[in-house]
Symmetry: C2
Subunit: 446 residues, 2 copies
Amino acid sequence: MKHDTENLAKRAGQAKTAALDLAYSAGELRDRALEAMSRALEERVQEILEANRKDVEKAEADVAKGALAQPLLKRLMMSESKLKDMVEGILSVRDLPDPLGRTLEARELDQGLRLFKVTVPIGVIGVVFESRPDVVPQIASLCMKSGNAVIMKGGKEALESNRVLGKCLRDAAVEVGAPAGWLQVIETREEVAEILALHQYIDLMIPRGSNRFVQYVMEHTKIPVLGHSDGICHMYVHASADPDMACQLVLDAKMQYPAVCNAIETLLVDEQLAGTWLPSAVAKLREAGVVLKGDERVVSACGEEQVSLASEADWSTEYLDHVLSVRVVSSPAEAIDHINRYGSHHTDAIVAQDDQVAKRFLREVDSSSCMCNASTRFADGFRYGLGAEIGISTNKIHSRGPVGLEGLIIYKYILEGQGHLVSTYAGDGAKPFTHRALREEWSETS
Amino acid sequence: MKHDTENLAKRAGQAKTAALDLAYSAGELRDRALEAMSRALEERVQEILEANRKDVEKAEADVAKGALAQPLLKRLMMSESKLKDMVEGILSVRDLPDPLGRTLEARELDQGLRLFKVTVPIGVIGVVFESRPDVVPQIASLCMKSGNAVIMKGGKEALESNRVLGKCLRDAAVEVGAPAGWLQVIETREEVAEILALHQYIDLMIPRGSNRFVQYVMEHTKIPVLGHSDGICHMYVHASADPDMACQLVLDAKMQYPAVCNAIETLLVDEQLAGTWLPSAVAKLREAGVVLKGDERVVSACGEEQVSLASEADWSTEYLDHVLSVRVVSSPAEAIDHINRYGSHHTDAIVAQDDQVAKRFLREVDSSSCMCNASTRFADGFRYGLGAEIGISTNKIHSRGPVGLEGLIIYKYILEGQGHLVSTYAGDGAKPFTHRALREEWSETS
């Protein structure tokens, strides 16, 4: 155990060193590395599937013993077609514009004293995840594109798969010139907790897995965490809503994929619709296999045989299943209050034809994605057109909502002078600054 | 104590409620509040100075007893002229452009389905600070301008001053329409730790005070912290440097104001200058009152009577005083390695006429501000032209370096559709997205 801990710190240090190199690497090198990474997955497909087969066999035995849940097994399993998707994913990340070295702002402070705000990578990204091995190539390619080093630790169910995938991707990139330590797949027998303690080395932590897992990560590290735990999303159907549209949107937002964070868990319905739209919507939801829990007004409008009585806890419960809580509200204000109080500030939608009410909802709901007449299921990096998705964040700083490559980027200030002293600009007779916006980009050569 | 804790949570809840209101307040209301806040300080100058006098008297007694350091007393003391500066500070924040409601990106996902990324406030800002009461109007005005609510707790030495300032600013803003709970000055007898535990209510914590204080805050809260603890800044004099320029820059960077975070603590000198420029620079530094600690090569070049031998710990020490550690390096690579290893990633500068070497330094040093032929003392929000300074951050996410109002801002995604379902874009026969960039701004009325 002591040996493992030392080894872990050593490898984290190697990642830190590699990060300093990658930070100023040419975009062309990083793209070449991504190309090589994609090729390596194609060439070593048999080796990768062989490793995955070992994990799957072990997992099947665990499922038989009841030590592992069946859905995890499905997520663990790889195939030639899944590998093809991984290869395509890496190439699509390669094709994104280089996020590094962009000049965000340029300003003359005084004659000959020029300030540039230039994008740079964050440094070392820590990734801890549960069983899906798809995370390995996905995060590795995003980190390579953005010039970050990465330390990964997956679940023990995917040990063999992650090991081969990691080695494959790392070696391929290193062969074409990436720094040796850039990707570290950790497989000590220690728990995730040991990675979470590496705050000297890791600048940003990305957890991938169940809510409980993400919650655990958030509560047990000093490293900033990018992600979300709960996804308690709402759809509010206003009196002005188009009834058919509302029905379809609720069905899509609940049932298009109920197990994900941007599916709705609570439906809020204007009281004017309680006797009309609501019972018919409830009937359609039940037809689609949804179990409904409602407040008293919902139960009395639809009948106990359709809707069971919700408890206070239901309003803060993420079912991730074919279950929906339903509440009647008297006004848009009550809907907004309910969402800001019980929601997880993830994604919430209104269905309304009244523009003024819709705009108010979009303005006042404090969620990372606020929608009008659209399904909450759109809250996703690919659908939003971000090119690649790192995750969805309910943080209030750095990155919020679906996060693309820009979530792995920060900036530094570069100041170029000609011997300028601060004493010239201080005290009596201080020279004033010009603070003139420049159109120049910072360049490494000029 | 129980009573205080309950009261604290209640007030934090009031701040949260106020934050939801402020988030969509008109820029005009926030500017009117700032105007009223500045006027209130002018009108209640006697009341404020009277409260400050009580604090000062108590502090003087503590200084006499040796219970308080003299410099703290000076920082605590207010005057009509200091109040005038506060008033001007508030008005200059009012004059900045409204940071809220700006559309950062707009994209059509498909016909009639439009995505907007719009700036919004972070929510509730927590501010904990040591004695200077200037922090109260400064942070209060930045938070009002950016639509954030704020919970503040200052040092007990400034209890009376902070109480009056806080009440004055809060009431003035509320009178013209700001939500009642927007500014909470906490003065329970509890320690700062109690504020640090309010992660359900506070979205971002800004500590102001000594390194030790900031370090304490960073290590004792789950709330994201904006700031820096150490400022171990370097200046590296390359062989190609203009000798006079180098000497002036070193003096400015060390002595223009030695007690601040962006003053240099370590001088790195190219070995080619060890026998020539170095001894003359050391002589000038000593003349200016600087105490020097050098490595063996520095000591042997300058003599033991000029420079005492530095220990390993000196390279990681922030003196904040008339002390400078000096080291001879053999190459730019060695200088860069030293800085990335011992520095605090705050602000570091090179003096060089060789452009290639300078660019390499600017590229490879991993600090929030990297400078060439300019004094590290320029690393400051006002000098950088940011309009207002929240602090200097050595974080690698959200905001780095001198931070202006944009450090108090985040964004949310707004999606406007016409009944769009995700099922249309999924599975077999999935409709493709258009992902077309739009030039529109999101508007609350159209």
